[in-house]
C-alpha cells in the first residue's frame, strides 16, 4: 500500500530519472525475476534433453499414442491391452479420482462424527472417539493401507465366501453385491434425482431466508428428504417400476454378475479414510471448542434446544475454523491415495509406473503424474477456497 502511495507521489512530481522511479523499479524487478525463472526452466529443460539424448534414451510424449499391451484390473472406462498408454493413464486418473472422492466424503463424515463425539458429554462416546483419534493418527498411513489389505486378503476364498444375505458376498476377491440390471428408464430416475437435489437446496435456502426475515423456523429435513427420495421414486413408478436384479453367482474362478468392490479399493479406501478421518476429527473438535462457551450458555438460558444450538450457533462459527485446515487434509488424502501402488490398486501412480517401465521414459511419465496431481490438488483448493469464502465471517 505504502509503496504504491509513494510511487504515486513520485510520478506526480515527475522527479529525476527513471531509475529512481519506484513504480518503474517495482515493475522492473518483477520482470527481471520472471525472466530469470523462465530462463532457468528453459536451461534445465535443455540440460535434461541433452543428457537423455547423450544416453540415447527416447524423449517426447509420442509414447502416449502407442499401444500399451498391458491390462488393468479395475477400469471405470472401456480399456483393454490394445488401447494406448494415454488411455491407460486416463484409467489410472479415474481410479485415483474415484478412491479420492469416496475417501474425502467418508473421511469428512467419519471425522465430523468423531470430532463431535470427542466433545460430547457422553463419557463412552468421547472415550471411544479419543481412542480412535489417537490410534489412527499416530500410525503411518502406509501401515493402515497394508494392514487392511492383508485383512481383506485373508478373508475366505470365493467358494467359502461369507454371505451375510442372499446375493451379497465378502471374500478375498472383494465385496460383491447385486445391482439392478441397466434399463433405459433409469436415465429419468437420475434426472429426477438431480432435480430433487436442486429443489431441496432451493427450499432450504428459502427456508433460511424466511427464518432470517421473520424469525419463524420451518423444518427442512423431512421435506428435503421427501423431495430427494420421492421424485426419483415417482419417476421410477411412472415408468412401470422396471427392476431386474443382477445377482452375483460363483462361476468358474470368480463371481459373475452383480457389482463388486475389489480388495485393493476397499483396503486403500478404509486406510486413507481412517487416517484422514482422525485428523479431521481433531480439526472439528478444535472448531467446536473455538466457539465461546458463553454463547452456548446464553442459548441454553434462552431455552434453545441442544440440537439447534449445535446446528445454528456452534457449527456455523466452527466452520470458519474448520474449513481451511480441512482443505489441507483433503489434499493430503488425495496424494496419499498413491499408496495404492503398494497393494496393487491400479491408480495413476501404479499405471504410470508400468508405463514408465514399459516405455523407459521416466522423465515424461513422472511429469505426467506430477501434472495430474497438481491439477487435482489445485482444483480441490479452488473449490474449498470458494466454500471458505461462503462460510467465512462477512465483514459488513
Amino acid at each position: 500500500m505504502t509503496v504504491a502511495h509513494e510511487a504515486n507521489i513520485d510520478i506526480k512530481k515527475g522527479s529525476s530519472s527513471l531509475l529512481h522511479n519506484l513504480a518503474f523499479r517495482g515493475v522492473a524487478y518483477q520482470v527481471l525475476l520472471a525472466a530469470a525463472i523462465v530462463l532457468l526452466a528453459y536451461l534445465l529443460y535443455q540440460n535434461v534433453n541433452a543428457n537423455l539424448e547423450k544416453q540415447r534414451i527416447a524423449t517426447g510424449f509420442d509414447f502416449l499414442n502407442e499401444t500399451s499391451g498391458f491390462d488393468i484390473g479395475e477400469t471405470l472406462i472401456e480399456y483393454d491391452s490394445e488401447d494406448s498408454y494415454g488411455r491407460a493413464l486416463l484409467v489410472g486418473i479415474m481410479n485415483t479420482l474415484s478412491v479420492a472422492a469416496c475417501g474425502i466424503v467418508l473421511a469428512t463424515i467419519l471425522g465430523t462424527i468423531m470430532g463431535i463425539a470427542r466433545v460430547s458429554r457422553n463419557w463412552l462416546a468421547s472415550i471411544l472417539a479419543s481412542g480412535y483419534v489417537e490410534i489412527c493418527r499416530n500410525v503411518p498411513v502406509v501401515l493402515h493401507v497394508i494392514f487392511w489389505a492383508s485383512v481383506i486378503r485373508n478373508l475366505p476364498s470365493p467358494k467359502q465366501a461369507l454371505s451375510p444375505m442372499e446375493g451379497v458376498f465378502l471374500a478375498n476377491r472383494g465385496f460383491i453385491f447385486p445391482v439392478p440390471e441397466p434399463n433405459p428408464a433409469y436415465t429419468w430416475v437420475w434426472v429426477a434425482l438431480a432435480a430433487g437435489l436442486v429443489l431441496a437446496f432451493g427450499f432450504n435456502y428459502w427456508a433460511q431466508k424466511h427464518r432470517e426475515k421473520t424469525g419463524k423456523y420451518i423444518a427442512t429435513l423431512w421435506p428435503c428428504m421427501g423431495i430427494v427420495i420421492g421424485l426419483p421414486l415417482a419417476a421410477w413408478l411412472v415408468q412401470g417400476a422396471p427392476l431386474v436384479w443382477s445377482v452375483p453367482e460363483l462361476k468358474g474362478f470368480n463371481f459373475r454378475g452383480g457389482a463388486s468392490l475389489t480388495p485393493e479399493f476397499i483396503a486403500l479406501l478404509i486406510g486413507i479414510t481412517f487416517y484422514t478421518g482422525a485428523f479431521i476429527a481433531e480439526i472439528v473438535r478444535a472448531g467446536i471448542q473455538s466457539v465461546p462457551v458463553g454463547q452456548i450458555e446464553a442459548s441454553r438460558a434462552l431455552g434453545i434446544r441442544r440440537g439447534f444450538i449445535m446446528r445454528y450457533i456452534t457449527f456455523p462459527q466452527a466452520l470458519r475454523v474448520i474449513v481451511p485446515p480441512t482443505t489441507s487434509q483433503y489434499l493430503s488424502l488425495t496424494k496419499n491415495s498413491s499408496l495404492g501402488v503398494l497393494i496393487g490398486y491400479p491408480d495413476l501412480v501404479n499405471v504410470g509406473n508400468t508405463t514408465l517401465n514399459q516405455t523407459g521414459q521416466a522423465v515424461e511419465a513422472i511429469a505426467v503424474m506430477m501434472a495430474v496431481y497438481l491439477g487435482i490438488s489445485l482444483t480441490i483448493s479452488l473449490g474449498m477456497n470458494i466454500y471458505n469464502r461462503i462460510v467465512a465471517i462477512k465483514e459488513r
Partner: protein
C-alpha cells in the same frame, strides 16, 4: 519495510542469475569409462532382484546367492580381482531401468528379458543371455486347471512393468479369454497375494516358480506349475549405452563361463588347466596370448572368474540344478553341444 523488500529481491535475483549463468552442467559429467569408476570405488554396484529363488536371494546374514548374483561376482572377479567386491542393490521391476540409466548401478543382473524396445529406447545394451526361460503359471491344484485354456475368468497376480505382464495380456487376448490382473510391484507382496488366495494364478518367468512353490507355499503339493512355456524370455545383463569397454567385459565374462564349461574347465581343475596342453584353454586362462589387455583387464581375468565363481554348469547346478533344492533340468540352458542354447563365442 521497503528496504528489506528490495534487499531480498536482489538476493533472489542474484542467486537466480548465478544459477542460470553457470554452464549447463550435464547431469552426469564427462564420466570416464565405468571400469575406471569401479576401480576407484573398489566395488561393482550390481542391481539384483529383491528376492527370487535361484536368481537372487539374501540369506539371514544378508549374503546374496543366486545365478544373477554369481554374474555380479564374476564381473567383480574379472575387473577387481575379488568376487566379493560387489555391492548388491535390490531393485524392483519398476525401478531397475531408471537405476541403471541414472548410474546408480553399474550393471543390471536381475532376471531382465532382452526386448527390442529396452535395447533401443531405454538406452541400454544387453550381454549374452545367461538364462533362457518363458512365462509360466502356477495355480492351485484344487482349481482343476490343466492347460492355459482352463484359465478363463481367472484373477492373475503379476509384477508391473514386466514382460510377463504384456505376455499374459497377449496370451489371454489370443485365446479370447477374460482375466483380471492384480499388479503389485513388491515381489513379496505379489507372491503373498497369490498364496493368500487373492489370485487364482501367479504368472512369472517359469524358472522362478518352483522356488516360490517350495519355500513360500504352506503345502507345496497344493500348487501346480502348468506344463509348457508361453513366451520367450532370454534373461541377460544390462548396461548403459555409451561405454563399449564395460559392455565388452560383461559380454566376455559371460562367454567365459560358457566356454569354461565347454572346455571342461571348472573351479577345481582350473589351476591344472592353466598349463594344459590346449592352446584355447591357455589363451582363455591367460597363460598365453593377451586377451586381457584387449579388454583393458589383466591377463588372469577369466582364470579368476572360473576360480572364484565357476563355469556355467557349476553356477547353474548351485542355484537351480543338482546342488540346489530346486533340481531343475537344464533344458534350454544346456550347452549347444548338449541340445541347449548356451553358446560361447570363440575367445581368440
Amino acid at each position: 519495510m521497503k528496504r528489506i523488500q528490495k534487499f531480498s529481491m536482489l538476493t533472489v535475483l542474484a542467486s537466480v542469475a548465478a544459477f542460470a549463468l553457470q554452464p549447463a552442467a550435464p547431469v552426469q559429467a564427462e564420466e570416464g569409462p565405468t571400469v575406471k569408476k569401479v576401480k576407484e570405488r573398489g566395488e561393482v554396484l550390481c542391481g539384483v532382484h529383491q528376492g527370487r529363488y535361484g536368481f537372487a536371494t539374501a540369506d539371514s546374514e544378508g549374503r546374496y546367492k543366486g545365478l544373477d548374483v554369481d554374474y555380479c561376482r564374476a564381473v567383480a572377479a574379472a575387473v577387481l580381482g575379488d568376487s566379493e567386491k560387489v555391492k548388491y542393490i535390490p531393485v524392483s521391476s519398476v525401478t531397475r531401468f531408471p537405476a541403471l540409466q541414472s548410474g546408480e548401478i553399474d550393471m543390471l543382473s536381475r532376471t531382465t528379458t532382452v526386448t527390442l524396445t529396452r535395447d533401443s529406447s531405454l538406452g541400454l545394451n544387453f550381454g549374452p543371455p545367461t538364462f533362457y526361460t518363458g512365462t509360466g503359471f502356477m495355480v492351485r491344484k484344487a482349481a482343476g486347471v490343466e492347460k492355459v485354456e482352463d484359465m478363463g475368468g481367472a484373477t492373475v497376480c503379476v509384477v508391473p512393468g514386466s514382460t510377463t505382464e504384456k505376455n499374459i495380456a497377449a496370451l489371454f487376448r489370443s485365446k479370447n479369454m477374460q482375466y483380471t490382473p492384480v499388479v503389485i510391484e513388491n515381489q513379496k507382496e505379489m507372491v503373498g497375494a497369490y498364496f493368500s488366495g487373492r489370485c487364482d494364478v501367479m504368472a512369472m518367468d517359469q524358472a522362478g516358480l518352483p522356488g516360490h512353490r517350495q519355500f513360500d507355499a504352506k503345502t507345496p503339493d497344493d500348487h501346480i506349475i502348468l506344463e509348457g512355456v508361453f513366451s520367450k524370455e532370454p534373461l541377460a545383463i544390462g548396461v548403459r549405452q555409451g561405454d563399449d569397454q564395460w559392455y565388452d567385459i560383461i559380454k566376455w565374462v559371460t562367454y567365459a563361463t560358457f566356454n569354461a564349461e565347454e572346455m571342461g574347465v571348472s573351479k577345481e581343475n582350473v589351476d591344472e588347466m592353466k598349463n594344459a596342453n590346449n592352446p584355447d584353454i591357455k589363451r582363455m586362462l591367460g597363460t598365453s596370448g593377451d586377451l586381457g589387455k584387449k579388454l583393458g583387464l589383466d591377463n588372469d581375468w577369466a582364470y579368476r572368474v572360473v576360480k572364484q565363481v565357476g563355469n556355467y554348469k557349476e553356477i547353474y547346478d548351485n542355484n537351480f540344478g543338482a546342488n540346489s533344492p530346486l533340481k531343475l533340468e537344464r533344458g534350454l540352458n544346456n550347452l549347444w553341444i548338449n541340445g541347449g542354447l548356451m553358446y560361447g563365442f570363440p575367445m581368440k
